[in-house]
């Protein structure tokens, strides 16, 4: 037994203490969080725009008068649909590699490449989350806003979005957590995120157990933490309705 712990201790020292190898983990973690946060923001912005285009089209297109507005909306909706089909129809690793080897071939800014790839990818999923939220709001809410004299955009802004946001918050948070785990493939294009950090230690020490378990543990703790955070936020938001 004592022997086992002694081995464990020496393995631990070899993996994390010697040559300050723990910095691979901490620096990787900070890169992972940076990539996740930034691509989440980018995904929300892209997703919101796509959702507005698609739900506006679904709700209003038939009722609209012909003209520039109607044609523009049709074109925007068409582009949005292509975007969704392509992004959701191809693996994120392939998108990441296209971003790294083709689009940003001249750049060596790994975070920029990753944020672009994951942000664009996430945007497609967030768009559908937002759209389902907007469509879930009773049309009576919309009519009440319009009957008071609010325009289409104002009604969306003051009445529909706040309610839609509340109803999609759990799904949105889940998307953030998925994204956090999804960024672990960033190592494919030589970005040193948390997973890659652990992998570098593995390569340097020939120890598999310690570094991989540490990486898995850190992901797990983060996911549990963010899940808890979302639950608290959800409860806060729900309070206002009772």
């Amino acid at each position: 037994m004592a022997e086992f712990f002694a081995t464990l201790k020496s393995d631990f020292i070899k993996c994390f203490v010697t040559k300050n190898r723990w910095t691979f983990i901490t620096e990787g973690l900070s890169t992972t969080l940076k990539i996740t946060l930034l691509s989440c923001i980018m995904g929300i912005v892209i997703g919101l725009i796509l959702a507005i285009v698609r739900s506006t089209y679904d709700k209003n297109y038939k009722e609209m008068h012909g003209g520039i507005g109607k044609s523009l909306l049709a074109v925007a909706n068409f582009i949005a649909n292509i975007y969704l089909t392509v992004i959701r129809g191809t693996p994120v690793v392939v998108q990441l590699m296209i971003m790294y080897y083709i689009i940003f071939a001249a750049s060596d800014n790994g975070v920029l490449v990753a944020v672009s790839a994951f942000g664009i990818n996430s945007g497609a999923y967030v768009a559908e989350i937002f759209r389902s939220g907007i469509m879930s709001i009773d049309n009576g809410q919309f009519e009440a806003g319009r009957s008071l004299g609010f325009g289409y955009i104002q009604t969306m802004l003051f009445i529909v979005f706040p309610q839609a946001f509340k109803s999609v918050l759990p799904a949105l948070a889940n998307e953030f957590i998925v994204l956090l785990k999804e960024t672990s493939v960033a190592g494919y294009v030589a970005i040193q995120d948390l997973t890659k950090g652990g992998d570098i230690i593995r390569g340097a020490t020939y120890e598999t157990f310690m570094p991989l378990l540490a990486v898995a543990g850190i992901y797990l703790v983060m996911v549990i933490f963010f899940t808890k955070l979302v639950n608290i936020l959800e409860r806060r938001l729900r309070k206002s309705e009772r």
């Binding site: 009576g140 009957s147 008071l148 004299g149 104002q154």
Partner: protein, 246 residues
Amino acid sequence: MNDNIIKVCGLKKHFVGGTVKALDGIDLEIKRGEVIVIIGPSGCGKSTFLRSLNLLEKPTSGNIFFNGVDINDPKVDINTHRQKMGMVFQQFNLFPHLSIRKNITLAPIKLLKKPKETAEKEAMSLLKRVGLEDRAEAYPSQLSGGQKQRIAIVRALAMDPEVMLFDEPTSALDPEMVGEVLDVMKELAQEGMTMAVVTHEMGFAKEVADRVIFMDGGKIEEMGTPEEIFGNPKSPRLRDFLGKVL
């Protein structure tokens, strides 16, 4: 000054497909201060008609003049005209994410650019009128149906409208709550508000209406004072309808 606040000419509404004619040529003038009650069997187009008065329902053809302006003209900014046409819905449609106070003050603050204090003061005096001044901080889900509908009326009144449209305001209410909403509406009528009301409450029509309109099959079948409509109905369909509901 124009005596007619609303004038409707040849209003038609065909639903997609074209075969169903919800409105089949309606002509009507509503005078300032007049209370019009629209009755008729379900599916006769009375709600569609009311909802097309503020263009929530887009007519297929025809004109709707509000203060002399044809609001069915695509070039007209409908939003500014809707500010002057309050609407009350069957399902209340209060904003569940906002407190009662904010439900009422949202539009006056954002659209009429009223200072927050002024809007809130006016909201409180309106709430007092309907006996709900103590619920200003509550949320819609905490209110009963009758209270919600009274708040919905207040929300519309806060925009200081020239006409109020009521789309079956008591149909979603428990019977014991119908009275409190009708009382508010009666008071409003007595104060001289122009009102168009779609309802199944024949008692309200008899007591409050200046003119009762009976619609059937997307047309105005008969129109007259409550005495004429209820006391001496001419059209057989109106007689048939009244036989069923009275």
